[in-house]
Symmetry: C6
Subunit: 74 residues, 6 copies
C-alpha cells in the first residue's frame, strides 16, 4: 500500500499548500470514516462563512509545519 | 505498565500523524474518564461539521509537535 | 501557468503581511470553489465582528510563517 | 511554599503530557479562584463535546511548549 | 507613502506588544475597508467577553511573532 | 512611567506563567479601556466554562512565548 504521506518535502511552495489542505482533510476522515456522512456535511460547511474560516485556520497551521519542513523553501 | 507515549519519534511521517490523532484523543479521556459518556458524545461530534473541523485543528497542533520531534522527517 | 506562490520571500515586511492575507483567502477558495457562493457569503463575514476577528486570527498564523521564512526581516 | 512549576523538564514524555494538562487547568483556577464555582461548571464541559475538544486544544499548545523544553525527548 | 510596517524590531518589549495589537487590527481593516461599518461593529465586540478574549488571542499570536523577531529582547 | 513589560525574562518558571496571564489580560484592557465595562463582563466569563477555556487558550500561547524567551528555563 502506498503511503498517503511519504514525506513533508514539496517543490514548489504551492505544493506545500496543497499538502496542508490534504493534512487538514485527513483528520476529518479519521474521525468520521463514513464517506456518505462526510458528503452530507459538505453543503453545511462549504456555504458557511464561519466553517470556511475555521478550515482556513487548520490549513494555516499545517502550512506552517510543511513550510518548516522545507526550510520555508529558502 | 507500558507507557502510552514512550517517544515522539515515528517512522514514517504517516505514523507521526497517527500519533497526533492519539495525542488529541488522550486529552478527552483525561477530562472525561467515563468511556460511556464519551461514547454518547461521539455521534454529536462525528456528524457535526464544526466539531470535525475543531478536532482537525487539535490534530494539526499535535502534528506540528510530532513533526518537530522528528526533524520533520528530513 | 504562473504559480500563485512562487516563494515566501517578501520585501518589505508589509508585503509579507499581504501574502499572509492571500494565504488565508486561498484556503477558502479551495474549499468553496464557486465564486458566486463566496460572494454571497461576503456580507455575512465582512459585517460580523466575530468573523472579522476569526479572519484576523488566520492571517496572524500565516504572517508568523511568512515572517519566519524571511528571518523576520532582520 | 513549594512551587507548582519548578521546571518544564519531565521524564518520560508521558509526564510531559500530564504537565500540559496541569498547565491548562491552572489558568482556569487563576481566572475563577472559587473552587465551588469551578465544580459547578464541571458537568457542563465534561459532557459537552465542543468543550472537551476545546480543552484538548489548550493541552495541545502546552504540550508543544513542554516538548520543546525537553528537546522533544530526543 | 510611509510603510505601516517598516520593521518588526521594537525597543522596548512594550512597543512589541503595541505592534502586535496593530498587526491584529490591520487584518480587520483589510477585510472590512469601510471605516463606518467597523465603527458600528465596535460596541458589539468591545462589550462582549467572548470577542474580547478572541481579540486577545489574535494579539497573542502576533506578539509571539514580534518577540521572535526581536530575539525575545534578550 | 514604569514599563508594564520591561522584559520577558522570569525566574522561576512559575513567574513566567504569571507573566503569560498578564499578557493575556492587557489585550482586553487595550480593546476595552473602560474598567467599569470590564468589571460588568467579569461574571459572564468567570462563570462560563467556554470562556474560561478560551482564556486558558490565550494564556497557553503567551506562556509558549515567555518560555521561549527564557530558553524554557533549561
Amino acid at each position: 500500500m502506498t503511503s498517503w504521506l511519504p514525506s513533508l518535502k514539496t517543490t514548489p511552495p504551492e505544493e506545500g499548500y496543497e499538502l496542508a489542505v490534504k493534512l487538514a482533510r485527513i483528520a476529518v476522515k479519521k474521525t468520521q470514516p463514513d464517506a456518505e456522512v462526510r458528503e452530507q456535511l459538505r453543503p453545511k460547511y462549504a456555504e458557511d462563512a464561519d466553517a470556511l474560516i475555521a478550515i482556513s485556520h487548520v490549513i494555516a497551521i499545517h502550512f506552517a509545519t510543511v513550510a518548516a519542513a522545507n526550510d520555508h523553501w529558502k
